[in-house]
């Protein structure tokens, strides 16, 4: 008992002193619960795109919306928020990002219909064929 008294924390904060905490406990916290993560999408005003801003940990989508409001809408103008479980997101691989180069090529053809002009030179077209 005497030893325990020694370890009791006396704080400058009266609330902490009243909590009668003792220090020096380095044990593992067992049973910390893992909530799943939700990806958060934030819209700053009506009509704007929703933009991915990060994640929250939550047990369900209602709680996820609540946490997302607190975390991502606290200091910014917000019209709307979406949340989706991270496990529901499908994504391409960065390693395969060459699959997008064709799109860029077609885009350049579309935007440079007069072929003599800019980026989409003959040289470019040849290199694709």
């Amino acid at each position: 008992m005497a030893l325990e008294d020694k370890k009791r924390i006396e704080s400058l904060d009266p609330r902490i002193s009243r909590a009668r905490l003792s220090g020096g406990n380095h044990e593992d916290m067992t049973g910390l619960l893992h909530f799943q993560t939700y990806e958060v999408f934030h819209q700053n005003k009506r009509g704007a795109q929703h933009k991915h801003v990060g994640i929250v940990h939550a047990p369900n989508s209602d709680m996820a919306l609540l946490y997302a409001k607190e975390q991502y809408a606290r200091r910014e103008q917000t019209a709307n928020i979406w949340v989706a479980p991270s496990s529901c997101i499908s994504a391409t691989e960065y390693a395969d990002d060459d699959i997008f180069t064709t799109n860029r090529f077609i885009f350049s053809v579309l935007t440079n219909l007069s072929f003599s002009k800019t980026r989409c030179s003959e040289e470019n077209i040849e290199s694709r064929s």
């Binding site: 924390i9 704080s11 994640i55 606290r74």
Partner: protein
């Protein structure tokens, strides 16, 4: 030390699978200014150091809210109380953003929390000192946040995408914390004799921890070189300390406050500040657990986890599917 984690000098830096070709391609991508994303290949040491750094930064935010948080109930006036509450809530929000960034590298938030509570992972040493008076909370809000901004602005230009994105948000909020702190210090420094004495005493108390804040000189460290090439570490500890001194010592002196270092002056030849080296033995002692508030900080954090656990258990969804967050 905020997002500037300590590295064991004997730690191995690369493994056999990390071929020179892979490493060179990785380096080329960083040199080109590309951001590394969680799904990309990265050297083990890069991953490890980033986890350590972001995790320590997150812990610093969450523990950092404690010394100031203790003053919420005793803030002088309703306006100050509201402002301090908002600031402390921001800091906890920063911790959440940072834990999320670290999680993309493969360590769960719960594991990080456990390592904090058991004393296995560190947080910024400065929060092991007590905020004795209201003026201490003002000095923390101004100068500790200022130091954090110097560090975080540098790190936000680093190479890891999720960390940079989190820091951008954090810096935006820290910048108005700094204004809040400055306003608070100016108010005290231009107030009654008692207020001036109080803020001077706080400034004197916090000077050594502030000089410790950026960590010991790391000029000679081999690890530092590699981490700087990888844009994990963006500036040396000394460079950041000098930048902080350049920005804030004149402002402190402008307020008629003094700093407890007789050698402190700007060297006109080198353009750098001359100062007395702070006691680095004290720094080591405190970071290893023997500071005035280490035990209290961890005990309070543990209490929060334990007391909140029944809520977590009540709302837990046991069928939830866990995947690593994307970005």
């Amino acid at each position: 030390m905020y997002g500037n984690a300590y590295i064991d000098p004997n730690e191995k830096f690369s493994s056999e699978e990390e071929t020179p070709e892979l490493l060179a391609a990785f380096q080329a991508r960083i040199d080109a200014g590309d951001k590394i994303e969680p799904q990309d290949w990265m050297p083990a040491m890069y991953r490890k150091q980033l986890i350590r750094m972001i995790e320590q930064h997150a812990h610093s935010e969450i523990i950092g809210s404690l010394p100031e948080g203790t003053w919420i109930t005793r803030a002088p006036g309703f306006r100050r109380k509201l402002a301090l509450m908002a600031k402390v809530q921001d800091e906890v929000g920063h911790a959440q953003l940072l834990y999320s960034a670290a999680e993309t590298l493969g360590k769960s938030r719960e594991d990080m929390m456990n390592d904090l509570i058991t004393g296995k992972s560190k947080y910024s040493n400065i929060f092991n000192y007590p905020a004795l008076t209201w003026a201490d909370s003002a000095v923390i809000a101004w100068l500790v946040d200022a130091g954090a901004i110097v560090n975080q602005l540098a790190n936000s230009k680093g190479s890891y995408g999720p960390y940079c994105r989190a820091l951008e948000r954090i810096c935006y909020e820290e910048s108005f914390h700094l204004k809040y702190g400055h306003d608070n210090v100016v108010h005290l420094a231009t107030g009654t004799k008692k207020q001036r004495e109080m803020v001077q005493a706080a400034m004197t108390r916090w000077w050594t921890p502030l000089m410790h804040f950026f960590g010991p000189s790391d000029k000679a460290s081999v690890h530092s070189d590699t981490l700087m090439r990888w844009k994990v570490k963006m500036a040396s500890n000394d460079a950041m300390r000098q930048q902080f001194m350049d920005m804030y010592i004149p402002k402190i002196w402008d307020l008629g406050l003094t700093l407890p270092d007789p050698l402190l002056k700007k060297n006109t030849e080198t353009g750098l500040w001359d100062y007395t080296e702070p006691d680095w033995e004290e720094f080591k002692r405190v970071i290893n657990g023997d500071g005035p508030c280490n035990a209290e900080r961890l005990a309070v954090r543990r209490m929060a986890e334990e007391n909140g656990r029944w809520v977590a258990r009540a709302i837990n969804n046991e069928e939830a599917e866990h995947v690593r967050p994307f970005a």
